[in-house]
C-alpha cells in the first residue's frame, strides 16, 4: 500500500518535472524548455537582411526552410559578441514558426523539479520578467528560465508581423 502510494507520488512529481536545455550567453546561464528545441547546429551561411534590427542576423537555409536567426547576445546587450567554431544556433519551434537563436554554447539538459523553479523577481530593463518563466536554482548555479515562446513572439523582437490590418 505504502509502496503503491509512494510510486504514485513519484509519478506525479515526475510529471511536474520539466526538462530544460541549458545554454550560455557570455558568463550567464540560461535555459529553455527542451520541448521547444528542434535541433542544434553551427552558425554558418547567414544571409543578412537589410533594415532589420541589429539582433536579427539574417536568414539561413535549414534543409530548404528559410529560418531567421536571432542573436540573443545582441538582444541582451552582452559586451562580447563573437562568432567562432563554438558559436551555436539553437533551432526552436515557436508559434508554428522555426527560429534559430545564436548562443555562446550549449552545456547540458537539466531536469528541474517544481521546487527548484523560483519565481523571477521584478526587474529587467533589457529582459523584461514577462519573458521569464522563473529562475532555476541548482546548488551553486542559477539558470535564467526563458519563456522562449513569449520572447520570440513579442513585439520588440520584430520577428512576427502583427496582424493589424
Amino acid at each position: 500500500m505504502t509502496r503503491l502510494s509512494q510510486h504514485a507520488d513519484y509519478a506525479a512529481s515526475e510529471a511536474q518535472n520539466r526538462e530544460f536545455l541549458v545554454f550560455s550567453l557570455g558568463e550567464e546561464e540560461y535555459a529553455i524548455d527542451i520541448l521547444k528545441v528542434q535541433e542544434i547546429r553551427g552558425y554558418e551561411n547567414v544571409t543578412r537582411i537589410a533594415n532589420a534590427p541589429e539582433f536579427i542576423k539574417g536568414v539561413t537555409n535549414l534543409r530548404g526552410i528559410i529560418v531567421p536567426i536571432v542573436d540573443l547576445r545582441i538582444k541582451f546587450h552582452l559586451d562580447k559578441v563573437e562568432y567562432g567554431g563554438q558559436t551555436v544556433v539553437i533551432v526552436v519551434n515557436v508559434a508554428d514558426r522555426v527560429v534559430g537563436i545564436v548562443v555562446d554554447g550549449v552545456s547540458d539538459v537539466m531536469t528541474l523539479t517544481p521546487e527548484q523553479i523560483k519565481p523571477a523577481p521584478e526587474f529587467g530593463v533589457t529582459l523584461s520578467s514577462d519573458f521569464l518563466s522563473g529562475l532555476g536554482s541548482l546548488e551553486d548555479r542559477m539558470l535564467v528560465l526563458v519563456d522562449i515562446d513569449k520572447l520570440l513572439t513579442s513585439e520588440e523582437m520584430a520577428l512576427v508581423e502583427r496582424t493589424s490590418a
Binding site: 551561411n45 544571409t47 543578412r48 537582411i49 537589410a50 533594415n51 532589420a52 539574417g58 536568414v59 539561413t60 537555409n61 534543409r63 530548404g64 526552410i65 528559410i66 529560418v67 531567421p68 514558426r97 522555426v98 527560429v99 520584430a158 520577428l159 512576427v160 508581423e161
Partner: protein, 710 residues
Amino acid sequence: MDITDFYDTFFEEAEELLADMERHLLEIDLEEPDAEQLNAIFRAAHSIKGGAGTFGFEVLQKTTHLFENLLDHTRRGELTLRRDIVDTFLETKDMLHDQLDAYRNEEEPDQAAFTRICQTLQQLAREEIGQELEEAGGASGGAVSSAPTEPSEPQHPDEPCADSDAAEAPMGEQVLAVALLNVGEKDRGLLVEELGQLGTVQDQQGDETCYEVKLLTSVSRDDIEAVMCFIVEPEQLHIRPAEDEENIPDTPLHASQQAKSLKPSAASPKASETSGQSATDNSREDGKARTKKAKAGGESSSIRVSVDKVDQIINLVGELIITQSMLDQTVSELDGVKDGGLLNGMSLLQRNARDLQEAVMSVRMVAMDYVFSRYPRLVRDLASKLEKEIELVTEGESTELDKSLTERIIDPLTHLVRNSLDHGIEDPDIREAAGKPRTGRLTLSAQHQGGNILIEVIDDGAGLDRDRLLAKARESGLSVSDTMSDDEVWQLIFAPGFSTAKEVSDVSGRGVGMDVVKRNIQGMGGHVEIMSRKGQGTTTRIVLPLTLAILDGMSIKVGGEVFILPLSTVLESLQPSREDLYAMAGDDVVLKVRDEYLPVVAVHAALDVEGAKTELNETIAVIVQGEGRRYALLVDDLIGQQQVVVKNLETNYRKVPGVSAATILGDGSVALILDIADLHRLSRAKKEAQRPRRASTDYETLFRKEEEPS
C-alpha cells in the same frame, strides 16, 4: 514479404472503386442508362471481387459476387433500372464499404448484415429476372476454391480479361503460361511465390524482359491477373494456355510495340528487341487496347489529393533541384576525361530533375475554365438587373494556371466583369443610336505568353472617356496635365477612391475597387494594363506569372551579397558613362538612356550593403520596370540568369521591405529576391529620412501655406 503487404493497396483501390461506383450510380440516367456507365459499375464490382477472393475476404467476395451478377444482368438489359433498384445498389455499395472497413480493422464483417444484403439481392433477382443468383463457391475454400465457379459468370466483350479462347474452361486444372514482361528481379520472385499459392509451378525460365512461368492451376486467368495486378501493370502480364505455344511468335514485335504505346513507362527500350518470345498474339493485344480506352473513359481518370500534399512534393522537388545544382557545382571542377562517366550521369540527373520538376508543377495547374465557368451566371443576372443585353464569350478556357493563382484571380476578375457590364457596355437604346448591335459583347480570354498568362476582359462598350477622367482627377486633387499619354490617363482609374460613375449603383461605382484590383494583381506578381478607344470598348489585360513557386531570375552582386531580380522586371542592363548621369536636387541622380531620364536607385544604399562599388560609372545599371515605374538599379555585377525556387520569407519571419521572397542558391546559401516596386519606395523613404529634419518640415509648412487659400 507476403501477401498481407498488399492489403493496403487493395483497400485503397477498393475504396476508390466504391467511390467510383457510387458516383456512377448517382449519375446514371434511369430513362436511358449509359452502357459505358453500367459497364463501369460492373467492372468496379468485378475488380473488388477479384481482389477480395485473392486476399481471402470471403464475405466481401460473396457479396460482390452476387452484386456483380445482378449488375451483369443490368448491363445486358435483362434488368431494367428503377429508382428503387438503384437505391438497393447504393445500399449494397454501403454494405461493401462497411465490410471493407471491417477487414481493414482486421475484424470479421457483420454476418447478419451480410445475410440480409444477400437476401435482398436474391429477392431482387427473383422478382426482376425470375432466377436465383448463383452463390459464390464453397464457404471453406477462400480464394482458390471459389474460383472455379467464376467462369460460369457471363463474359462481356468489354470485360478486360474476356479473351475469346479457351482460357475460361469452367472446371478442372490446366497449364497456363504466365509471361512477365520487364519485371524486376525482386517483384518477379514475389510473383512466382504468389503463383505458387494459386497452383503448382511446373517450370520457370527467362530473363528480365520476359520471364515465363508454367503453372498447373484450377484458377481462372482472370483471377491470376487480378492477383498480379496489385504488383505489376496489366501490360506487363500475359497469360495464355500453355498448349498453344507454337502459334504464338507470329507478330511478337508488333505486339510488343503496341504494348509500349499503351504504357510507355512500363516497357523498357529493350523490350522491342528481345521480347521475341513474349507470349502474346495480336488480336488479344488489340482487344486490350480497346479495353484500356474504354476504361479510361468510364473509370475515374483523376484522383483528389490535398493541396498540402502536392505542395510538399513541390517543396521536395525544389530541394532536389537545389541539391542537384550543388552537386553540379562540385562536379564541374572535375576532369572531364577522367570522370566522364560521372559528368554524364550528372547531366542526365539534371535533365531528369528538371523534367520531374516540370511534371510536378503541372500537377498544380488547373484550367482557366475553373475561373471562367462562374461568370455566365453572374453576367446573366447582372445583365437583367441593369436591363442590358449582353453576350458572354469565353476564349482559352483550357489555358492552365497555378491553382493558388486561379483562386486569387477570381475576385479581381469579378470586379472587372462587373465594371465592364455597368460602365462599359451601354444601354441597348444608346448602342442602337451609336450604330452598334443592341447586344453588347463581353469577352473573357486567357492565353499563354512566355512564362506569363494574359487574362483579358474585353467589352465593346463606350470606352473610357479621357476628358472625364482628367476632370475627375483634378476634382479629387490628383496632379494631372492635358499632355499625359492615354496610358497614363487610363492608369488614373486605379487611384484609390477614384470613380467616374455618374451615379453610384449597387453594382459598382463607389470608387473602391480598381485600386484593390490593382493591389491584388500586384500581390500575385502581375500587373494590369488598360487599352481603350472611345466608342469601341475597353480591354483590361491582367498579366500574371504562370506560377508563384518558380521564378526566372537574374542574379546580381552587390558588395559581397547576391540578390535575385525577377527577370520579368528587367528591361536591359548597361554600363553607365559619366556623361549620362545627372545630379538632381542634391543627392538624386538620373540616368539618361536614349532620350529618357530614369531615376537611379543604388541597391547598396537602399539595402545598406557594405563594400559595394560607389563610383557610379564603375557600376552596372539594370533598367527595371515595376508597377509601371521604370528606373535604373545600380549593381556591382551581373552573375547570370537562373530559375529559382521561391521561398516565402513570411513563413518563419516577416515581410522585409524591398524584398519579395527568398531562394536558395546552388551553394546552399539564401539569396533575397528583390521587389522592384517596393525597392523604389524603400529608397525614397530612406532618402527622405536622411534629409535634414528642418528642411523637410519647412517643405511641409510651405506646402500647407500653398494649399490653404484654395
